[in-house]
Symmetry: D3
Subunit: 307 residues, 6 copies
Amino acid sequence: MASGNTSTAAPARFDTETGEPESGQIEAVLSTPTLGQVLIAVEELWPASLAEEWDTVGPVVGRPEREVKRIMFAVDPTLEVVADAVSRGTDLLITHHPLLLRPVNSVAATGFKGEAVHLLIESGCALVTAHTNADSAIGGVSDVLADIFGLTQTQPLAPSKDGLPEEGIGRVGMLPEPLQLHEFASRVFSAMPSVAGGVRVAGDRAGIVRKVAVCGGAGDSLFDAVRAAEADVYVTADLRHHPASEAREAALNGKPYLIDVSHFASEWLWLPTAADALKNVLHDLGHDVEVGVSAINTDPWDFILTP
Amino acid sequence: MASGNTSTAAPARFDTETGEPESGQIEAVLSTPTLGQVLIAVEELWPASLAEEWDTVGPVVGRPEREVKRIMFAVDPTLEVVADAVSRGTDLLITHHPLLLRPVNSVAATGFKGEAVHLLIESGCALVTAHTNADSAIGGVSDVLADIFGLTQTQPLAPSKDGLPEEGIGRVGMLPEPLQLHEFASRVFSAMPSVAGGVRVAGDRAGIVRKVAVCGGAGDSLFDAVRAAEADVYVTADLRHHPASEAREAALNGKPYLIDVSHFASEWLWLPTAADALKNVLHDLGHDVEVGVSAINTDPWDFILTP
Amino acid sequence: MASGNTSTAAPARFDTETGEPESGQIEAVLSTPTLGQVLIAVEELWPASLAEEWDTVGPVVGRPEREVKRIMFAVDPTLEVVADAVSRGTDLLITHHPLLLRPVNSVAATGFKGEAVHLLIESGCALVTAHTNADSAIGGVSDVLADIFGLTQTQPLAPSKDGLPEEGIGRVGMLPEPLQLHEFASRVFSAMPSVAGGVRVAGDRAGIVRKVAVCGGAGDSLFDAVRAAEADVYVTADLRHHPASEAREAALNGKPYLIDVSHFASEWLWLPTAADALKNVLHDLGHDVEVGVSAINTDPWDFILTP
Amino acid sequence: MASGNTSTAAPARFDTETGEPESGQIEAVLSTPTLGQVLIAVEELWPASLAEEWDTVGPVVGRPEREVKRIMFAVDPTLEVVADAVSRGTDLLITHHPLLLRPVNSVAATGFKGEAVHLLIESGCALVTAHTNADSAIGGVSDVLADIFGLTQTQPLAPSKDGLPEEGIGRVGMLPEPLQLHEFASRVFSAMPSVAGGVRVAGDRAGIVRKVAVCGGAGDSLFDAVRAAEADVYVTADLRHHPASEAREAALNGKPYLIDVSHFASEWLWLPTAADALKNVLHDLGHDVEVGVSAINTDPWDFILTP
Amino acid sequence: MASGNTSTAAPARFDTETGEPESGQIEAVLSTPTLGQVLIAVEELWPASLAEEWDTVGPVVGRPEREVKRIMFAVDPTLEVVADAVSRGTDLLITHHPLLLRPVNSVAATGFKGEAVHLLIESGCALVTAHTNADSAIGGVSDVLADIFGLTQTQPLAPSKDGLPEEGIGRVGMLPEPLQLHEFASRVFSAMPSVAGGVRVAGDRAGIVRKVAVCGGAGDSLFDAVRAAEADVYVTADLRHHPASEAREAALNGKPYLIDVSHFASEWLWLPTAADALKNVLHDLGHDVEVGVSAINTDPWDFILTP
Amino acid sequence: MASGNTSTAAPARFDTETGEPESGQIEAVLSTPTLGQVLIAVEELWPASLAEEWDTVGPVVGRPEREVKRIMFAVDPTLEVVADAVSRGTDLLITHHPLLLRPVNSVAATGFKGEAVHLLIESGCALVTAHTNADSAIGGVSDVLADIFGLTQTQPLAPSKDGLPEEGIGRVGMLPEPLQLHEFASRVFSAMPSVAGGVRVAGDRAGIVRKVAVCGGAGDSLFDAVRAAEADVYVTADLRHHPASEAREAALNGKPYLIDVSHFASEWLWLPTAADALKNVLHDLGHDVEVGVSAINTDPWDFILTP
């Protein structure tokens, strides 16, 4: 829980257009969906079959027959996020990260995960996960990152086994024009929601980048694909010393450069797009729902000291 | 769910003395405990350290700080048992079988386990498991069976690794006087709550039994210990064709005979004793709680056809 | 070994038409086959390739070059079955269950398996197993059960990977007309050889069944297939408390109902059919052999006490 | 390879007293040791038995009989470090990180690891690893960190199984007087060699810290020990989103706070101490050697953008 | 089966004193033992607890209650050995190598192992294995080798975990006086029964050997122990190119030299001693039995071409 | 290291035509290749994709950009072979056996493998392995053996999964005319370089052989394929007692006979062919290199004593 920064530190860009329901939007013919009906729309956007084998996606808490009037998107199902959602009358919280990725034998409120389960069920708020299926899908986390960085001719870094050619983890694409590394890093920094930890860069400031690989969240398992794609720079998160060092040692002519961003920030960028997309799909299915994005910053870091 | 037999088929012996709180029992100085305080008493009676390695015992649902006025014991956390408990204002359901023995990534109410979790949390009813720790403990499932069959000089079949010499799975002991197999089988039948499947016996009706091995629940992993103990008869549950056949083939002079009882029935016998014991320990700790036993028969079988 | 019931308890239906060689049947041109020649016929009827990966089928004891004049079928190679077969001058015992499913480093007669091997070899009687290959084959255990219950439009519950579409473990099919559960259960009971343990049923006596799933022997690994087939009732054997309870909890509208029969009885039904089939195939190959069915009941249970 | 920052970015504090041999230090009676003799001193300071089971420490390249006149310490055996060491006439490079932690079937110079092996052997420079043995030893990486932060009453976080009570991974100890979190973070920042990535902090700036846990390098496997020690703050490196987030969610009253430093920087601090210690032990053994510390910054990051 | 060499190639030394029962040896008071009684003597000499974990020793075929008048020892239970034993009226064949080391699901006579089982049971001849227990025991295979080579001060190469200090696989000891390698090799050659493959030697003919390590049968897993014992030469069997080459590469000053003998021959040496020992123990237990050694050479090789 | 036999025992046939560069062979237009260029020719002859999964082939030591003027082939990278190669100015040693089949964490010269790595790198000599890829390739080890024995209509014993039909481990083919076993064994003996251990034969001297299976090196894993091919005789190396005995027991009519040759000798035969082939391919690629074969005998045995 990032202490003390909920009300004050959350930057303006956490408030998205979808965050507040617009009055006058609800048409008479539209109905309130059940959780089961919302899950159909979720499956259409982010099919469970796109999830990695080790992953678990879909509903975690909730009754399928219950009505859903308000949906909120967030990166992490932290207690702060859940409490905030519940306090705003949310019926369904959709998070990128699973609450119960490691399976559990108990949901007693003797730990924070059981506490979250109790809080959600007591408040009648469902919880649904869209994780690596949302990373991989068209219009998913990786596509959003590629769009924001202005990439064209994008392709997946690790194409999905059973999906379409456009689906898969990570994206690689071309910048419209060459940039120096420091220029591109500034573009990345500006595109992200502001978090304490900043954006770290490895490489020659003046080096030229044209081909860009991106992977939202922790992408250190994709270095082989990045090199095979001959990307000039790789933007991802959670790069530790050894993978980063080995990647730099293995770099030919110093490339690919590395840009290490906040795991949270890289995935947060997807939330407004996801909220819009879900609202639209539900509308097409004849449903009207408020869909917003949580204003809570769940990046774990609160401040940084730099040279 | 054994259809239709809750109200009519549940025999009188399902109602125990502890099932209904006796008026006048509550003294002014006694307080209502929290779930956390009840768990201390549970640990004292059935220490978690006695559970098998593969097992999961302890709290499954509930808030430790919440008050517990009514406790109900049951063998299985079926939806029928949970609904009945909730309808009676139960604050804590203690079952022998774990709800989440296979760990889960979701407790959504899209399956019966998630449905049970939702029903419990929505109703503010906690769930606690006392499984192989209760099998193994002094005064546990095996000890109760041995007592009901009148055994003396009892010892564990499979002594607990870290526990006292009296602790462990199963018991072996002596009948006060020799009985013919059919006489002993009748005693077993009479001691059990009535279930549809009856009591099956392998061996010579007129064979003499004096030394008896018992194991509540499924005991087919203990045949080596039963033979080593030179028991005349082994009472357990869930004996399938191959283990039973091989045990009969390996039997010397036809012994040990086998008596296969209802898994549910063999463990149900422990519930009244457990309820009394917990009430007493809580009383000693200064707490007053109503403690009862569920009247629901969770044996899966509804009727039988026999030759 | 079911004590004392060999001579008296074995019901009339254990004696089948194939059990006694009919006089006048042997034509002059027919020859006595060797074990090797019988194995060719066995492979034609129950191909080894249909056996499950964990299973071991085919010859267990015997010399391929030895003549086979008398064949006996049985469910289990117990010592009682072997001794009876040997005493009747049997040259080949074909059993459904393998004697050496768990492989052995010794066949010394210090245990009942080594004792059986010695008895067989000393008497010149071969032993052959037809297990999951016979479950899966057309006209095998599952098909015989489906026929006896009057099912039509049958399909395998778990189709064989490498076999024909009609081959596989279990069958699902339609009753000619709907029956109440208790009526269908009576039909099952009547069709089976009489054993001590009877037939247990879970479900509403008056519930309607039309679509029936069957699996001879222990079928608790096929619940997912049974539910996917939307069967009204599932007939199988060796259902323990936890699989049966979970299946009942997961049942929609209480279906599939469950009927738990004797493992032995469910597989015994196949023996007369198998004996006829083998006799016919051998006849077509130019061989004349006596083929019978063992009259020994190897269900492990001797008597039952019911409410 | 951190591009371009070797000559300019390496801060003054990379030059240690031991980095330059002092003239007049060599006494006539002292001899030049062989690599084998140096390894005896290395074992005395950082016994191989203290290394974790998965680790590999000791000599990686070199001939035991060869004389060692110049020793250089470094964190990582990168090509830049190796080339710099070789260019300075180094006979032995001692690094904290193993070159061949994942074992290899080839040392051909077709990759950077084989390139390093060739460069070392061609130049006659040996390579020795002191990794988790140096983390765990008295006066090792963790002890140096604890000293620099001013901790007293230190104990290992994860005591060594076979070592002394003072040996083990990580340390926990007390500050002489309570500090606010931001004050302590500044102390940590000032103590470290300057690297691009800075020092990230999670927790309340004004929160009070007195009990401090430290672990040089990646310490995310020690959270249970940190909580058991009731530390107010945990200083370590390479904390990714999920371990950090879960640790923050599990934090009671927000503690332990987290301080995430550079993996390289946290381990670099040990080098001057190690160089002094080795020089002294060799001196006591009658040997005279130049011992220095590499001035190369092998932190992979070159610059950072922060809010 | 070594073709054609049974009658002619078997050298005189295959006929041992114990091979022919001596007349007048049987006293009136001595009884004929059962197999079960012989097994007690076998256990006394070569306790099953000394066998390696992967090994299987003890009775393989036979009825414990059957009388044993003639016992024959052999290295391998080949069909030729079994047929010869049976033709001589042998009641018990004791072999060093197990017939069923890899466990079997069938003993049908469709392979040579099933053929052997049939031949033995049909002839009423039991089969017992004394393998690594006989290697390890005092007076076992290794001790006999050490004695024949004239070693003194012998100790096990790999001491038994649970046995006495003198028990274990292999032996190391001292020659009474130093020999040149070619002299010692000649002694080894002369001590062995003659087989086609001869004795291969690696090392300097004129090198001096004093300390000798021996291991009957395949000993390539004991090289570390041989080096630790600082043996000058290692005598064992079945040395392939890679273990032998690596041992030669790792040899210091060319030692240990290697002497590769016939696996069969190295273990055959134990048979006469074993036969005497068993006869004596049985005599002490009040039994009289003829005990002999098979004259069949089961070394697989029939002739050799050498430079 | 076969002591003392390098200079005297190495037979004339170790000197091959390719062993000495012929004068006048170098044309002006041919260039000296780099190691990287030689590796292209190696891959063309013995593609890495033909190697077994557990194997490691290709470059082990060396810089790809370095010039290669002299290449030497050998079976084993022993220290004696390496030292000899280096003393002759060899730039590239190509061996059949890998130096680092078991991967290593260290190449320090504290063992013979590290010593070899140091010696090679210090001398600027590269090391490349062509192992199971060279066994399997057309014109590889098995093909050379088949050619030398005069086989026709050859096919692989174990065809390569991904290769051509002619590729795979071992070969089976027909002799031009039938031979008695002792005649064929003499042919094998004469074809091999002379080593101390000779050639061992199992089978009837006068037995007729026509169909021959061969596998260079240790071939005891291919017995099933040899039997399936109905070969009359199998020539391979490193046959230990148990595989050889079981193969002889399983032999029908005594066939396949076995001929056990020196592992080294069977693979040495390939070296001259390989040297010629590589020289030719390099020539076709425009390169001129001296290519020879090591004269060192690396068979581990020095002398033998036979009956």
